[in-house]
Amino acid sequence: MIITKIFYFILIIISILFYFLYIGDLSLYLMIFIISLPVLLGIIILIAKFKIKFDISAASPTSVKNEKCKFTLSIKNKTIFPFSNSLIKIEYKNKLSGIKNYMDIYVPIHPLTEEKLNFYLSSDYCGILNIKIQSVKIYDFIKLFSCKIKPNINTDIYILPNIDFDNISHISKVLNDDNNDIYSKIKSGDDPSEIFELKSYIPGDKINRIHWNLSFKRNKFITKYYSQPVNSSIIVVLDLIKINSIYSIDTAIELFYNISAQMIKNQITFEICYFNPQSQEIEFINISDIDTLIEITILLMNNFIVDYNYSIINDIGKACINKSELFFITNKYENNYNIIKLFDNNYSTEKSLIFVSDTFSKSKFKYLENLTIAEIPAGKFNENIEKILNDKG
């Protein structure tokens, strides 16, 4: 561009010299033309700066890891001027890692049209995929001038873990609380206080399960199936810290999401505990379906990027009373005292500390021998998820 400007400046000098040396009218026309052309081009560029609008949108607000996410960049040119070589600089990043990358697209902008540029991204990690039109540079017809437009428009897609919900395995250990009034809707049990369902007698059913009254009325044997009370006093906590490596954050989210999905699939209702930066308190939400889990995961990811200096561990301790189980998933190593304080108490709650780390360092836990600790290296949660859930108790 600078070279073009230098050449054009030299051309102006030559045209002025030509005007002095050449007697015909051509020299006047040429000189005025060469001097006035940049002025007109500059005006065109200025008009374009205010008349070309940009927008970016995502096809869907959520996606899963390693799946194509479609983005549409819309360029609306209200002027009659085309721009053959505009440069659109797009910044994309995972908000959880903060590492920005850039993409440059040289695209022509047609006049009096709205054109759409579709492109696709995929993410290897969970998080919030943020796409921003950082700047758009438009050149005039002879690339003498350019103008930079900064639309400052961005859009987000939430990247969730990729779980095949149909293939989630059954959790062998049922985490029960006899005082619970919530019963499984899909599975029968042994709690006579609640009838799960009534069916015709099948040879082999227990005699004491026959519903005699109904049997007389129906003139056939009807068997009562009792309900299975489900455990709702499980807390799952996701407590993440911003560190350079996206691996541990991604693994922790995967763990959290998987554990939660497995429990939902197995009709185990549980609570998620998280810190709400707006209210500055920890909050609990019951999770019983995937949609809520997705919402909570998105909420947790959003909260993660809020920079707060709050130790969730202190309040968790109080919340653990009367809970049967605690899954504490974290990627940060608190100091010994806080960990012990949380986990080394008289509560009957079964506590599991699931620590996601980039590098394994056994020495960190030498003072925490009274806890069930699972240390999961980043990226390797699949092998351990079953172990976490099924080796309990």
Binding site: Y19, F20, L21, Y22, I23, G24, D25, L26, L28, Y29, L30, I32, F33, S36, L37, L40, K68, I80, F81, P82, F83, S84, N85, Y92, K93, N94, S97, I99, K100, N101, Y102, M103, D104, I105, Y106, V107, P108, I109, H110, P111, T113, E115, K116, L117, N118, F119, Y120, L121, S122, S123, D124, Y125, G127, L129, Y139, F141, I142, K143, I246, D250
Partner: protein, 834 residues
């Protein structure tokens, strides 16, 4: 340590990008490009025809242009498979050319002749032609040429837009006319201008007919996506069309404004043009300083005078009528006043120079007496005149406009005010050169008092002046001892009675010799380097202006035994003291223009001093008295009524080139002739020769080359110094990383690049590819050190840093030593790698 410009953040861009725009018909998109191609064709062909007034049937040329244009434009816009039709067309063209070859050549000759005679009207023709059907042959030739031109223009506009090829293909048609000052019709030349502008636009749009698979979409390089050329088809066409519209608006606007305002080229611009032309034609590398000064003066840069006493190095002289001096007096002066600035004492190698210091030193006693008695040769004449003739003295102030003025212009018969310094017997130096004053006699020289003076035997001057007279006769009668001078002496002095005459008669005879052997001209041409100035003037060229006459007069006077010397300065005319110049302060304020610069001779009259004498003839052939002349003075100094100055106009005429004032040799030139007539323009086209452009081109090329070389050297020096500085003064970690980067650059220079390999893999690959550069695992070790420097928290030891540093320097040397000389220069100066 650079691996990628972006650190990987887990997000991948899928190789699938598409642009959707509203549908448009391709045919309508091609029309702007076709229009642009047509502009180029029409503009080129008819610019040429109109410039040289080619005598042909233009309707048939129009037909051929349109016909070929339709064929090629359609052919080039059809899909690729139809382009095969080009071959039969071209074959047919070649076949037809072969068949009509004789007529083609005849047509070429006819067109060439017409072009040639248009440029050189005085000449008849270049080729002798004897054909019957001249016009048809010319049309045939042009038709064949138009065919090729249309093919070229259509291809580089519709298929693969390229401005440089388009410009190179069309500009020569125009340049050959512009070079000789031919003026084409406005419409075709403007069409051509529009075409060139559109071609740049289309080229910059990035469009070309993609010869690969017909796919739209984007090309990817790392994280950069480029829209494929075919996507830009529509924008290219519309951009071109908009440029056409913009150009038409601008040109129409210029036309309206110029017609409305009655614009015509101002004389000042023509003067500048002439200045530049003259300065360029006088340009010589031997006299580079003066040439550049002359150039800058012609462009109006700076306010400097050019001092050069070299004789005969100008083709012509002209005036820009700028004010050189401003003179203010309180009374009228009755006669012309010669204001002397420079005195030339010795004629040597076509130049007037001063006597050497050693000569003056040998007369030291005499000059010491002058200082002792406070009487100087410079004042001899004034002392005599004032003592002899009763005269009034007027106050005269002189102001010079030049910043680099180095002379005081001293009138004869005057008494300077202020502090005076006398240098030898030639220079009277006042306090400053810019502003000074005198008391000047109102009576200056005329014919009567000159005759009286040379016959005055009764005046007894100072004794020391008697000594001075001896000095004068010993030194101011000498001429160079050359064959040319001997010839002149034989021809004009020996073979005449001049030596038997008295001084008065001798001077008249010399005047006659000069007027018989030369005529006055402001455009005498340069004296060839091998020729003596006076000899060439009197025996070969026979043309010159005041410098020629004054110099020749001095030489002939010396040959005749009359001490004489050369003087330069300005002339103030008695007619300048008029009402127009009379100010409110009751003074006369006269602007002395550059056209008043003059050269004359000084004759020594015994015991009286140096007297100005005019050898320049009055009725020179080149002079034409202007009817608008307001100041016309003739004043004779001899009984034959020769004039000092014939007619002088202080305002230049519009039709008369030749000013009657006399210009000194080559100095004090603010040059612009008053040539506004079209005849003058045509004549000047011959002066506007290849010399002008080639000198300009030489200067520009030479300067550009020097600047480029200097830039490269400076850049090399800065980069290498910076790198060495970083490699020696930074900490080990940074040192290691910089050294590693340096090695990577060296490997890239060798053609080994890292295309997305891991560092260790690349190290192994590079070692394998460059067996003669790295020993064993040198580069692998260096890579480990660099990785450690980049990622590890552990410190880098001095040994490690030095190892990688030494490896980088050793690698550079090894690569450098195996290169050819040109590659070495490339590596060193352009890539700055060593």
């Amino acid at each position: 340590m650079k691996h990628n410009t972006n650190t990987y953040n887990g997000i991948r861009i899928i190789d699938c990008m598409n642009l959707s725009v509203p549908k448009s018909v391709k045919f309508f998109n091609i029309i702007p490009l076709m229009l642009i191609a047509f502009l180029g064709i029409w503009g080129t062909v008819f610019s040429y025809i109109s410039m040289f007034n080619i005598n042909i049937n233009t309707n048939s040329i129009k037909f051929y242009s349109i016909f070929f244009f339709i064929i090629f434009s359609i052919l080039f816009t059809l899909p690729k498979k139809f382009k095969i039709l080009l071959f039969p067309i071209l074959l047919f063209y070649i076949f037809l050319l072969y068949k009509k070859w004789t007529y083609f050549i005849a047509g070429f000759k006819i067109v060439f002749n017409q072009t040639y005679t248009s440029i050189h009207p005085e000449k008849k023709e270049y080729f002798k032609i004897q054909t019957i059907n001249n016009k048809n042959d010319a049309e045939l030739f042009i038709a064949f040429t138009v065919f090729i031109l249309v093919f070229l223009i259509c291809y580089i506009t519709l298929v693969h837009p390229n401005f440089f090829i388009g410009f190179l293909g069309t500009f020569p048609f125009i340049e050959c006319g512009l070079y000789f000052g031919k003026i084409p019709d406005m419409l075709p030349i403007l069409m051509l201008l529009i075409y060139w502008t559109c071609l740049i636009t289309i080229q910059y749009s990035g469009y070309y007919q993609y010869s690969g698979k017909k796919t739209s979409g984007f090309l990817r390089k790392n994280n950069i996506f480029f829209a494929k050329p075919e996507i830009k088809f529509r924008t290219a066409g519309i951009s071109g069309l908009l440029i056409v519209i913009i150009c038409c608006i601008i040109f129409s606007f210029i036309k309206i404004i110029s017609d409305f305002s009655g614009y015509s080229r101002s004389d000042k611009i023509n003067q500048v043009r002439s200045n530049i032309k003259n300065a360029a034609s006088e340009f010589s590398f031997e006299d580079l300083g003066t040439s550049l000064e002359r150039f800058s003066a012609s462009l109006g840069i700076g306010n400097s005078k050019i001092y050069n006493h070299k004789l005969g190095n100008l083709n012509s002289v002209s005036f820009s009528e700028t004010t050189d001096l401003i003179i203010e007096t309180n009374l009228k002066i009755h006669d012309n006043v010669y204001l002397k600035g420079y005195t030339g004492t010795e004629y040597q190698n076509n130049k007037w120079i001063d006597f050497s210091n050693s000569l003056y030193q040998s007369y030291n006693d005499m000059f010491s007496n002058f200082y002792k008695n406070e009487t100087f040769p410079q004042d001899m004449l004034t002392d005599y005149y004032i003592s002899k003739y009763p005269t009034d003295l007027v106050d005269m102030k002189i102001k010079s406009k030049y910043n680099n003025e180095k002379y005081n212009y001293i009138p004869y018969i005057s008494i300077p005010n202020g502090e005076i310094t006398y240098i030898n017997d030639t220079i009277t130096k006042l306090e400053n050169f810019k502003e000074y004053s005198f008391k000047v006699s109102t009576d200056q020289f005329n014919e009567n008092n000159f005759y009286e003076m040379i016959n005055d035997n009764n005046y007894n001057s100072n004794y020391s002046f008697k000594q001075y007279t001896d000095f004068v006769y010993e030194n101011y009668c000498s001429i160079p001892d050359t064959n040319d001078m001997k010839y002149l002496y034989e021809k004009f002095i020996v073979n005449s009675d001049i030596l038997n005459e008295n001084i008065y008669q001798k001077l008249n005879s010399i005047k006659k010799i000069l007027s018989d052997n030369a005529e006055y001209s402001l455009s005498p041409g340069k004296t060839p380097n091998s020729e003596d100035f006076v000899y060439y003037f009197l025996t070969q060229n026979h043309k010159g202006y005041c410098v020629h006459f004054a110099t020749s007069g001095v030489i002939l006077a010396r040959m005749a035994g009359i001490p004489a010397r050369y003087a330069e300065g300005y002339v103030l005319l008695s007619d300048d003291f008029n009402e127009e110049n009379f100010t409110e302060k009751n003074t006369y304020k006269v602007d002395i223009k550059d056209s008043r610069a003059h050269a004359w001779a000084e004759i020594y009259i015994d015991n009286l001093g140096w007297v100005p004498y005019e050898f320049t003839p009055s009725a020179a052939a080149a002079f034409e008295n202007n009817t608008n002349t307001t100041h016309s003075i003739t004043q004779s100094t001899t009984s034959t009524s020769e004039t000092i100055i014939t007619s002088v106009s202080s305002t230049p005429s519009k039709t008369d080139l030749s000013e009657n004032t006399h210009l000194s040799s080559s100095e004090e030139q603010k040059l612009t002739p008053n040539e506004t007539s079209s005849n003058e323009v045509n004549n000047n086209q011959e002066v506007y020769s290849a010399v002008t452009f080639s000198s300009l081109v030489k200067i520009i090329l030479f300067t550009s080359v020097i600047m480029i070389i200097v830039f490269i050297l400076i850049k090399h020096f800065v980069i290498v110094n910076k790198r060495n500085d970083m490699l020696t003064h930074l900490n080990n970690r940074k040192k290691s990383l910089i050294a590693y980067d340096y090695i990577i650059k060296l490997l890239e220079f060798k053609g080994i690049t890292n295309s997305n390999m891991q560092y260790i893999d690349f190290a192994l690959y590079a070692q394998q590819e460059t067996e003669n550069i790295f020993d064993a695992d040198e580069f692998l070790s260096a890579t480990h050190i660099a990785l450690k420097a980049k990622w590890s928290m552990e410190p880098i030891e001095d040994e490690e840093a030095n190892y990688i540093l030494e490896l980088s320097l050793r690698t550079a040397k090894k690569i450098y030593s195996n290169l050819s000389i040109f590659k070495k220069i490339y590596m060193k100066l352009l890539k700055n790698l060593i």
